[in-house]
Symmetry: C2
Subunit: 385 residues, 2 copies
């Protein structure tokens, strides 16, 4: 690919896509595959949200909105933070984006100069480093493993920060580990980063998708924090391509300029639909989804550990289990492939989330219903014995 931009060589494909293509082949041959690789809720978008989307289309609301999104939706998100998270966020700080991906682009574009570094975790969401590389920034990794329960600490960050570091990008709850960074630690990280004139970019797209107890948002607590969120996960609105961010005031003008230029605006009907996402009827549906996820997590956590996929502590959020698979081989892609070919179970190899210990980990998503998970576990048992 000699004519492509050099950055393309640093952008890894998703290895899971190869597995997915093979899974489709097998399905086309009539084989049943248990899908535990998909980072997307299996649930339908709650009906009140769908109905609002339909209503918007019926009303002909199909023209552009302002680049930062419908003012009334920005206001609704501000209210959501106040009512559900006791967080004070001005609607002027809320930016509606084409998915959390759009937020990551706007942040990297308006914040990162060529050669400046952004700290992030390994393992982590695979696209993060590519958003940084797209604008010629440099991702730097903090390695996480079982010994620290896959959790980043302030001292990790302090020892990794250098003169070229402009920001740190963290996620809580995290993909692929499901770990949460407690709010006290996040506060300290934000303060340390501020002392370095840097920025904390916090991915909260799994906010609300937590189990056992509800965790706070960092929104509204620091002047040097970008909060990223999305309607895709908790709200089960993936295909609507809608997210938001809470940005520091000093960046809103630049972000608006950049959004006008590179996006024009997020999808209009999705924005009108999202206006109903915070209604009690929608929330109660999403809470029932959350309860189903919790039940699946509990089942899968116990079952995978029983089989020998090692997950030390039960993760508190998201819909993934990041399991040590070294008992079954030293190449996570080969194991994934083997699982697919031999017992028809699709999982994501660790190498999709970074390099550190990636060969000895697999990510299991619990985004299929319980009966499928049970079938998957029965097949994994067969594979392992």
């Amino acid at each position: 690919m000699t004519n492509s931009a050099r950055r393309m060589q640093n952008i890894a494909p998703f290895y899971v896509m190869k597995l997915l293509a093979r899974a489709k082949d097998l399905e086309a041959q009539g084989k049943h595959i248990v899908h535990m690789e998909i980072g997307e809720p299996d649930f339908k978008t709650p009906q009140p949200i769908v109905d609002a989307g339909i209503d918007a289309l019926k009303k002909g609301l199909t023209h552009y909105t302002p680049a930062l999104g419908l003012p009334v939706l920005r206001e609704a998100i501000s209210t959501f933070y106040r009512q559900s998270y006791e967080a004070s966020v001005s609607s002027n700080s809320v930016v509606i984006t084409p998915g959390a991906s759009g937020a990551l682009q706007l942040i990297c574009g308006s914040l990162i100069n060529p050669g400046e570094e952004v700290l992030m975790t390994d393992p982590g969401y695979p696209c993060n480093r590519h958003f940084v590389q797209l604008v010629e920034g440099v991702p730097r990794f903090i390695n996480l493993d079982e010994s620290n329960d896959y959790s980043v600490s302030l001292s990790d960050i302090k020892s990794s920060w250098n003169d070229k570091t402009k920001a740190i990008l963290l996620a809580s709850p995290s993909n692929p580990t499901g770990r949460i960074i407690d709010i006290e630690t996040l506060d300290k990280i934000a303060e340390f980063v501020k002392s370095k004139n840097g920025y904390l970019i916090l991915d909260e797209i799994y906010l609300g998708l937590t189990y056992g107890k509800k965790y706070p948002s960092l929104a509204g607590r620091h002047s040097n924090v970008f909060i990223i969120n999305s309607f895709s996960k908790y709200f089960s609105m993936t295909g609507w391509r809608l997210g938001w961010m809470v940005a520091p005031d000093e960046f809103i003008t630049d972000i608006e300029k950049l959004a006008q230029n590179i996006f024009l605006a997020p999808t209009t009907s999705s924005q009108y639909a999202a206006l109903t996402a915070f209604d009690p009827q929608s929330i109660s549906i999403m809470e029932s989804y959350r309860e189903a996820f919790e039940e699946r997590r509990d089942y899968l956590y116990t079952s995978l550990n029983d089989i020998g996929f090692k997950i030390k502590n039960k993760p508190e959020g998201a819909f993934y289990l990041y399991a040590n698979s070294e008992k079954f081989g030293d190449n996570s892609f080969d194991i994934s492939n083997d699982l697919l070919e031999k017992v028809g179970v699709a999982v994501t190899p660790g190498i999709d989330f970074g390099a550190f210990n990636a060969e000895s980990h697999l990510r299991f998503a619990y985004t299929v219903e319980m009966s499928e998970l049970e079938e998957g576990i029965s097949r994994l048992k067969k594979y392992c014995h």
Copy 2:
């Protein structure tokens, strides 16, 4: 804005946004404004397309699609080229994008290295240079004016091409001038660019929105051409945020990788809706829109020239007239402002489209109904006498 990335200083705001904000103030005060500044069709999305969008939502089609778009939509676009433009385009070369903006991002991201230059016209679509700058490429301009009927020539391009040039980005029909580059010239440009191992990026988002005769597409004719198109203009689907490109085969793998990472996928319901955009019922509605645009163009072209806004030749496409306004002052922003304040007519100043002769030009959009245009002309007459 000392903490922003340096590139933000090179990203100009849209000056027309200031005028729009002021126009809204005046409207809030009860004043009627004639809007001739808006680059968006006033027409509704054709009902068959809206109905298909509603149907998709009713069916619960709200999950992610593949990153390159629904295969059946890529196939429909391939068929559209064959049936409507006698162009042979494989569906494998068609990439569905979140608007033409998404296509520009994917092209710049996968093609342009830092410091490499992209030729484009001045005047031109203002965002073009920013897509290039976002990935640290360098936009270079070919100036167009009345003397060459705002049309780019092969010799312009030959004399502007240098060792750092990676690509040329052209539009036909063009925003803001409405000019068309004839297919023979485009063929020659593509061949010259190929001889330089470069690429032609051709914005055809106003394809179909032409008057008098139908113009061909360059799609399928050259191996080093990226064609950009959109459902926003001819199809009146702005708020659906959906476009497409036809990319050289050698880039499809990289573009897919980049699209997976920075977009995941375009909005799902918009893609299902667009499946009906090529149906005869939809086309006949869009053709009626096109006829209305043509009537407006004819009226506005004659009327503006009568008043003294000079437009030499009648443009053949898009929905804009780019008029010389030097009779009324030497600062296009001041004139725009004056028109808004004194007679309540909103137009876009030339400075939104570049620097060359930008102070002596205004762009008039005919995206409001005829009665509004007539009111606008009557007010402009009052202003000018």
